[in-house]
């Protein structure tokens, strides 16, 4: 079982890679069938990934359904080869770095590593990886099939499929890698694929600019991940996730290995721990387009729509979510950093939703919606509870489905409208493209959180996790206290009790929270060193009043989400039929190769949430992920219940949003006066995306341009000037000596004689008696 699973695991990244290489090699020869290698590779990988998911689920067994039972972590490591091995990378100069001198903590289990640095090419399989692999390859397959229709006349047809397959390879390696350095490598690789796909139409200046922007903004985040990796190695002495049993019997404790996870004091907190977590948060912000690094994602819509659906909606942007989930034990030790994750997420979610309300470009609405939803996931991650992490992954899954669906639907519209994507220029497309309209509506419902659709359940869980943090006295503190006592009482009634108590419960000021419960919670978070029980600095943010604010921000975002989603639906699909002249006379439904993935995704968007929530399959399954079995995290597990009170609040917000959208846009011409005129000056603020681009231009781009002008001057005038001056020396010599080239043979002969004489004279001087 183990070895066959290992072989299968290798196949998941390998098959898309083979497909990519095959497309590159055979693309020209295959012509219009150039998609075959890539689609076949991704399809086979999807099948394998699904098999692995089933196998892992089988291994986890009946753990789900009972979250309070201790869960055995499930993981399987497949080490392919050693990439690099450095004998004593740490020895000697550690004191020179001054890290130990300033008391930088070294985590337990680090010293016996001997300072050896080695990078195994190791893949891992655990519930989290299996889930993400399935999403990546599954959505990738659907997008690839859709692209067959969408890209069919493009001159870069083979290149597109090679890039998509390459991207699937990189992304599956990213989530399957069992080493922070490998994660970094493929973190960069997906960034490169993203760059190439955004700039796919590289002759279009906007696309080239957008690709450059995405790459540069991502570099800021990558820088954070690089520094975080260095710090991790200095602190833990290894970069592996897993434990390694060496031949001589010693064990290298991986950062996320079983030994360290079981150890309450296995993780470093304090300044170093917070720094690592914040740097990882920076990295996640870059890749997952969170504020302040979100500016690249809306521009990335210049790429082909399938690429937007695959990369900038469903998969790549979830890399940040994955990174934080994978590093959950590190974050749990640093409540301040965790709170920062939530704050960043909630702010991003709200700001992006506000911007989305006034966008007229359908793809841009979806892009800001993506940013907003990713912010939702960050909020969930930041709660630092089992419910939060599983809710984030749950939302990631459902979001992948419905956002891919919405993007592909938008692509279908764009395809039919001859490349026009401005919602004011078309309308009433319900009659023209019924399948697209229906599936788009399903996606919109899922995104808005309408009751039975997927987004409803995942959003509900996120809000519930937030609510639990905001009101710890309601259902969190008793667990924390019980957890520190080393015993986990089964409290099946928590959710129900919350449901009955919350609506009538007024908000209390922070001072009323008992001090003991907070300090106990801090102790329970497993902060091992460097932090006193008194919360200082960032950790002081971890306060129920903060969480309450975040909860209400998220609820507001939910309402806004419903509004802008249905605004887009109404503007595009309702009202009188209008078609831009670019579409010609034959605006029609897209071919079946494009609508088929839409239907599949629509089915998934409609029912996946309900099924997964009703069976509680996902959260129970994910709980067996090693990272989530850390004691500090596991003891926050709560019973799986449906939070009626929160569901009602969420649905209410969604309903208000939809209603406002309907008042403004349902049945009207989409180019009729817009609602933003009621917004006043705020409308300008939203339409200009909160002036982020302008601020960055003023603060970063312009000074950098000035600096580069200065350096360019320095380079040209001084560096080049010096080099040129040196170059002039032989030239000057040449023009001086050139006069001797008279062409007169006798002068040449004379020069030869003088030379010989000089030599003879020198010899005579040497041999003088």
């Amino acid at each position: 079982m183990q070895s066959s699973a290992a072989n299968l695991l290798v196949l998941v990244p390998l098959l898309p890679l083979v497909g990519a290489i095959g497309t590159v090699l055979l693309g020209r020869r295959l012509g219009p069938r150039a998609h075959l290698p890539a689609v076949a590779g991704i399809g086979a990988a999807a099948v394998v990934a699904f098999l692995l998911l089933l196998g892992t689920a089988n291994q986890v067994g009946g753990g789900h359904g009972d979250p309070m039972r201790p869960v055995e972590p499930v993981e399987m490591i497949s080490t392919l080869w050693q990439w690099a091995t450095v004998g004593d990378a740490r020895s000697g100069d550690l004191t020179a770095t001054g890290l130990e001198a300033v008391g930088a903590p070294v985590a337990p289990g680090t010293a016996d590593n001997g300072g050896a640095f080695s990078i195994p090419i190791a893949l891992r399989l655990d519930p989290l990886t299996a889930t993400l692999l399935t999403i990546i390859t599954g959505v990738g397959l659907l997008v690839a099939i859709y692209s067959i229709g969408y890209m069919h006349d493009d001159p870069g047809y083979p290149r597109f499929f090679a890039l998509v397959a390459m991207f699937v390879f990189s992304m599956s390696m990213l989530v399957a890698a069992s080493n922070f350095l490998l994660v970094y490598v493929f973190w960069e690789a997906v960034g490169a694929c993203s760059y190439l796909l955004i700039g796919f139409w590289y002759t279009k200046p906007e696309a080239a600019r957008a690709a450059k922007k995405a790459f540069l903004v991502n570099r800021v985040g990558d820088f954070g991940l690089a520094i975080a990796t260095f710090l991790l190695w200095m602190t833990y002495g290894t970069l592996d996730f897993h434990d390694t049993h060496l031949a001589d019997g010693t064990i290298v404790e991986g950062i996320l290995g079983q030994i360290r996870l079981a150890d309450e004091a296995g993780y470093v907190g304090g300044a170093v721990g917070t720094a690592i977590c914040l740097l990882m948060l920076l990295a996640a912000c870059g890749k997952s387009a969170q504020m302040p690094l979100h500016v690249w994602l809306p521009d990335a819509m210049e790429g082909p729509t399938p690429a937007s659906a695959l990369i900038h909606a469903a998969t790549m942007v979830t890399a940040g979510i994955y990174l934080i989930t994978r590093s959950a034990p590190l974050f749990v030790g640093c409540p301040g950093a965790l709170t920062m994750v939530s704050i960043v997420g909630a702010t991003t979610a709200l700001v992006a939703a506000l911007i989305a309300t006034v966008q007229n470009d359908l793809k841009r609405v979806l892009a800001y919606s993506t940013i907003s939803q990713l912010g939702y996931m960050f909020v969930a991650l930041g709660t630092g509870t089992m419910l939060g992490f599983t809710a984030a992954i749950f939302h990631l899954l459902t979001h992948a489905f419905f956002k891919a669906l919405l993007f592909l639907g938008a692509g279908s519209v764009m395809h039919a409208m001859g490349g026009v994507i401005d919602m004011r220029r078309f309308g009433g497309l319900r009659q023209v493209m019924p399948i697209t309209a229906a599936t788009f509506l399903v996606g919109a419902c899922a995104l808005a959180g309408v009751a039975p659709f997927a987004g409803f359940f995942s959003k509900d869980e996120i809000l519930a996790a937030l609510h639990a943090k905001a009101h710890p006295e309601a259902h969190g503190s008793d667990h924390a206290e019980a957890g520190s006592a080393g015993e986990r009482p089964r409290d099946l009634s928590g959710g129900v009790r919350l449901a009955t108590s919350l609506p009538s419960r007024p908000f209390r000021p922070a001072s009323m929270i008992t001090r003991t419960s907070r300090t106990d919670a801090a102790a329970a978070h497993g902060v091992s060193s460097g932090v006193s029980h008194e919360k200082v600095g960032l950790d002081a943010l971890d306060h129920p009043s903060t969480w309450r604010l975040l909860f209400w921000m998220s609820l507001l975002t939910a309402g806004l989400t419903a509004f802008y989603t249905f605004r887009a639906v109404f503007m595009t699909f309702t009202g009188p039929v209008r078609v831009p002249k670019e579409a010609g006379h034959h605006a029609h439904e897209s071919p079946s190769v494009m609508t088929m993935p839409l239907v599949v995704l629509a089915v998934l968007s409609a029912f996946a949430g309900l099924v997964l929530f009703a069976t509680n399959a996902l959260s129970g399954f994910l709980a067996a992920t090693p990272s989530l079995t850390a004691p500090a995290l596991a003891r926050t597990a709560v019973p799986h219940v449906f939070h009626w009170d929160i569901a009602i609040q969420g649905t209410l917000a969604a309903a208000i949003g939809i209603a406002v959208a309907a008042i403004g846009h349902l049945g009207r011409r989409s180019d009729s006066p817009q609602m933003e005129r009621y917004l006043g000056p705020l409308g300008g603020l939203f339409a200009n995306k909160f002036y982020f681009d302008q601020i960055y231009a003023a603060l970063i781009v312009k000074p950098l341009e000035a600096l580069s002008l200065l350096t360019a001057f320095f380079d040209r005038a001084i560096v080049d000037g010096t080099v040129d001056a040196i170059g002039q020396v032989p030239s000057a010599w040449g023009s001086a000596i050139r006069r001797m080239q008279s062409g007169l043979v006798q002068r040449y002969a004379l020069a030869g004689v003088v030379g010989v004489l000089a030599i003879v004279l020198a010899l005579a001087w040497q041999l003088r008696p």
Binding site: Q741, S742, G743, Q746, L750
Partner: protein, 147 residues
């Protein structure tokens, strides 16, 4: 066999001839005179070789001189042919007539100040013609007024 004094005297003569030939070949611009200078250098070498040969009682030096003579004859034959070809092209026996190998940007080297032709023009006695003067073109007289 010759005594050492004779050796050094002969060597000295050879050295003088060699150096004179060298100066000649470097300075004189007439191709013929340049070749004469080269022959002068060969003479100097020949004297030196013979002197050493006689001093050591070894025939090798003299044999070498025989070959030097041979090679000088060959060289003269071939070189003079080339001189004639060169003359056919330029109408001059001037080594400075060929400057094609000079640097492109440089001007041709031209003699700016030429010394006056200080030769004494001989005045031939004019005899009264005996008989009828043959028809002929005076300007194309076969006799050169100067050699």
């Amino acid at each position: 066999m010759i005594p050492a004094t004779m050796l050094t005297n002969a060597l000295l003569v050879g050295a003088v001839l060699f150096c004179l030939g060298l100066v000649g070949i470097l300075t004189r611009r007439n191709l013929i005179v340049m070749f004469l200078s080269a022959e002068l250098m060969l003479q100097g070498v020949s004297v030196t070789l013979v002197a050493w040969s006689r001093y050591h009682g070894d025939w090798g030096g003299q044999v070498l001189v025989v070959f030097v003579l041979t090679v000088a004859a060959c060289e003269a034959a071939v070189a003079l042919v080339f001189v004639l070809q060169a003359f056919a092209r330029t109408g001059r026996l001037d080594a400075s007539a060929w400057q094609a190998l000079r640097e492109e940007s440089l001007p041709r080297v031209i003699d700016h100040e030429l010394p006056a032709d200080d030769r004494v023009v001989p005045t031939w006695p004019h005899l009264s013609p005996a008989g009828v003067l043959p028809e002929g073109d005076d300007s194309r007289s076969l006799e050169r007024d100067h050699v």
